[in-house]
């Protein structure tokens, strides 16, 4: 009875945002250009976009920026005339970079801190899907010291070690009440893991620049995470776990990017990302009372196509715009309300202001339109239509030295 009771308590899924829970907001200039940038030596964010391009940056500098994600998701249960919405909670992924070393020399150093995975999805506590999830807060902060070497005047390579700090906080209702109050479960934990990021940057004789990068998978392991229960019936309390272990793959991403320079003032970037999501086969939680819940995910690899343009209109103002299309890694039957993912269109724009030679301000705005998707999840049988749009303004400050 004990194990049977628990097996239905904790079928807990996870996690999400922007091609599932990958977040592609690592630089304001690049965000404004559809998220492309692996084929450019644009600014300090090259630490993330292509460590091989860092040694081609004309100046050293430091920059810090953040985005605000206004995520609007609607859900309509099949057969119901009601549409439910997620709550307004605005996650603010950030990115900060510094590049130093001699711009005249071949060897440059960089360090970056950024949030390549994350999500914040909050539903009302009594929504239709409350037994699948009521809220998710997920973030992975990568800290990446980086070395970049200009092998020749045209070829640079670079790489960085990634120290990944993960945090997850997942809540859902469980089908008990205690004195009329819903019982809820919370799984909360942190992880510390390692990965790496490497890239090659080539300036071809034709003037086109090419970048190839790979960011490794980080396998985020939560050990001794907290399993908390609110309002459980007293009779059930002795059966509940208090700790859990879980593993979540933060997938590898390979990118090929190109830079085109139609004029001295204009840059065009094209990127294709290949995200190795297939390693996300299931999400298993293993509890300290010997029970476990393993939720199938069966993601598949998926590509994103990105294009962006920037024009240095005046010495003060740079205009940017971009477009992208991200294919969803989530197969039919696996869509979950914490990651109501589908193929999505990205439209972006931005401006860069240069009050002084050293000081820059960049603004970006990204609009994501996630296709409407009607699905029945094979595990929970939650059946309905999800539709998501996201509005993501951002700003960064940078200082050159």
């Amino acid at each position: 009875m004990k194990t049977i009771l628990l097996s239905f308590l904790l079928i807990i899924p996870v996690l999400g945002f922007s091609q599932s829970f990958q977040v592609n907001l690592q630089g304001q200039k690049q965000t404004a250009m559809g998220g492309a940038g692996a084929g450019l030596a644009l600014d300090e964010a090259a630490v993330f976009f292509n460590p091989g391009a860092v040694s081609f940056l004309k100046q050293n500098g430091v920059q810090a920026g953040a985005h605000a994600i206004f995520l609007k998701t609607a859900f309509n249960e099949t057969g119901s005339p009601l549409t439910e919405y997620n709550k307004n909670k605005v996650p603010t992924p950030f990115a900060a970079y510094a590049v130093f070393g001699s711009p005249e020399g071949r060897l440059r150093f960089g360090i970056g801190a950024y949030t390549p995975f994350g999500g914040a999805m909050h539903w009302n506590e009594d929504w239709t899907g409350k037994y699948t999830v009521t809220s998710l807060d997920l973030r992975a902060i990568y800290i990446q010291p980086t070395i970049s070497l200009k092998i020749t005047d045209n070829i640079g390579i670079g790489g960085g070690l990634v120290y990944a700090l993960g945090h997850v906080d997942l809540k859902k209702a469980i089908p008990y009440t205690n004195n009329g109050q819903q019982t809820t479960a919370q799984l909360k934990g942190d992880s510390k893991d390692f990965g790496w990021n490497a890239g090659i940057f080539i300036k071809t004789v034709s003037g086109v620049s090419v970048g190839v990068t790979h960011r490794s998978q980080v396998t985020a392991k939560v050990e001794n995470g907290e399993a908390n229960f609110f309002n459980p019936p007293a009779s059930v309390v002795p059966l509940l776990p208090t700790k859990f272990n879980a593993t979540l793959p933060l997938p590898a991403t390979s990118t090929v990017g190109f830079g085109f320079y139609p004029s001295a003032k204009t840059t065009i970037a094209l990127d294709v990302n290949w995200v190795w999501w297939h390693t996300y086969k299931d999400l298993g939680f293993y509890y300290d009372n010997g029970t476990q819940t393993v939720s199938p995910r069966n993601y598949h690899d998926a590509a994103t196509f990105r294009a962006g343009i920037q024009n240095e209109t005046t010495s003060f103002l740079t205009l940017r715009a971009g477009v992208g299309y991200a294919l969803s890694p989530v197969g039919e039957g696996y869509v979950t309300p914490e990651v109501p993912d589908a193929n999505r269109l990205l439209l972006s724009a931005g401006i860069g202001l240069k009050p002084s030679e050293r000081f820059n301000i960049d603004f970006s705005f990204l609009y994501e339109n996630v296709k409407s998707r009607t699905e029945t999840n094979i595990e929970t049988n939650l059946s309905g239509t999800f539709k998501t749009v996201a509005y993501i303004p951002g700003m960064a400050l940078s200082y050159k030295f």
């Binding site: 309509n76 019936p233 929970t380 303004p393």
Partner: protein, 428 residues
């Protein structure tokens, strides 16, 4: 204009924009299609009345599937709907079973005896507080299909008696009572007790209604219900042998419990008295009833010192066992009844809610909106503590089954019930 005003204005505008631009999803507007839900009446037995946990009580009545359907029908022209509720002060109605403890996962179940709606006892039978208001939910616990046209059935069934008056109790038939006022739509889930009473008594009492009798009686009921042009939905009989009542106490659990005692460590067989023939060792193909556990008789020695159930000379009584041969009989009758129900429904162009298929689907284990559901006792979320009747969640699942069948047949779009609003078994 100074550029800072421009940027501040842009920022303010964009924040307002971001807060308001929610995506929309095109949803189906509720329409009644070609049915008329002005007055919906529900015919049936305990399942229709909202019986649960071995009793009829106010919470169960409020969570009956007809109440749920009627609430949803309101958006497509449905009128008021009344279930003969017990009075608020007597909300525990007939009394019911409740879970009072879980000790190492083992449940303790006790009877609720406060705030009952019992007005008198006659010949050992409780008479319940009478209900005199409007009725649209005509679910009467215990009623069989073949009782529907018995004159004076109120004298045989205390749940029907409470709906009548002293003047009518000895004369009225169920069908006359139900059809006394005009109706525009009906649901009919009669027939379960024509086989369930036989099965739940371990086939030791109450013979199944003969198949031809069932078919004739069903036809008569449907003829009456459709005689004024009303449309409706009928439900099939669930798989009686696939309910928690028969799937909780098993040969395996019985042996495990006996083997766990010092004296019973060597026991390998449980002996049963089948419906026909000599006592024999039980196999995994025989089903035991839930009361075999709660009556606490296993292993008790009789006058000769022979332990109950562990020796062919003192076997588990037939009333606790639906043996393999009896299961075949039960299944045969259920299949025949359902064939009749479907063909009569088809002949009268009625919607069919296939309760047999629906409840088997969930009994086998299937999540709904993230809630795991199965036929498992207590933790399966579907069956109440009597192992036969449904929990509010189970009733919500059937309500949606009815709504989907109605919508499919009549081109209506009655909104489904949000099942997550309804509970499974209540834990202490």
């Amino acid at each position: 204009m100074k550029s800072t005003y421009f940027y501040k204005g842009l920022l303010a505008l964009s924040i307002i924009g971001l807060a308001s631009c929610k995506p929309t999803i095109d949803t189906v507007a509720p329409v009644k299609g070609n049915a008329d839900f002005t007055r919906y009446i529900a015919l049936g037995n305990s399942l229709t009345a909202g019986f649960a946990d071995g009793g009829l009580y106010l919470e169960g009545q409020k969570n009956s599937y007809p109440e749920m359907i009627a609430a949803q029908m309101k958006s497509v022209g449905g009128g008021s709907f009344s279930t003969p509720f017990f009075p608020d002060a007597q909300f525990n109605g007939s009394g019911y079973l409740k879970l009072t403890a879980l000790t190492n996962g083992v449940p303790t179940i006790a009877k609720e005896t406060s705030n009952l709606a019992i007005r008198a006892q006659v010949g050992g039978v409780n008479l319940f507080t009478r209900y005199t208001g409007n009725i649209e939910n005509f679910g009467v616990p215990g009623i069989k299909l073949i009782h529907a046209n018995i004159q004076g059935y109120g004298t045989l069934n205390n749940y029907f008696e409470r709906l009548l008056t002293d003047a009518t109790v000895g004369t009225t038939t169920y069908m006359d009572f139900v059809t006394a006022k005009p109706w525009t739509f009906f649901s009919c889930w009669l027939g379960n007790n024509d086989i369930l009473s036989y099965a739940s008594s371990g086939a030791a009492a109450d013979a199944p209604t003969p198949k031809a009798t069932f078919s004739g009686a069903y036809s008569a009921v449907i003829t009456k219900l459709t005689s004024k042009g009303a449309k409706g939905v009928v439900a099939t009989i669930p798989d009686v042998t696939n309910i928690a009542y028969f799937r909780t106490v098993t040969l395996k659990t019985l042996l495990a419990a006996i083997n766990a005692t010092p004296a019973g460590a060597a026991v390998k067989d449980i002996y049963i008295q089948p419906g026909t023939g000599a006592a024999r060792a039980a196999t995994a193909e025989d089903l035991f009833t839930l009361p075999l556990s709660s009556d606490n008789v296993m292993g008790k020695p009789n006058g000769l010192g022979i332990p109950y159930g562990l020796d062919p000379r003192n076997p588990v009584e037939s009333k606790y066992v639906l043996d393999k041969a009896e299961i075949a009989v039960v299944n045969d009758y259920v299949a025949a009844y359902n064939t009749s129900i479907k063909s009569i429904a088809s002949a009268n162009n009625l919607a069919v809610m296939d309760a047999y298929a629906l409840l088997n689907e969930y009994a086998a284990g299937k999540a709904i909106n993230g809630i795991p559901v199965s036929a498992a006792f207590i933790q399966g979320n579907m069956f109440s503590l009597d192992g036969i009747h449904l929990t509010p969640l189970g009733y919500a699942i059937t309500a949606n089954g009815f709504i989907k069948a109605i919508n499919a047949k009549y081109g209506s779009s009655i909104p489904i019930v949000d099942v997550t609003r309804y509970r499974g078994v209540k834990f202490p």
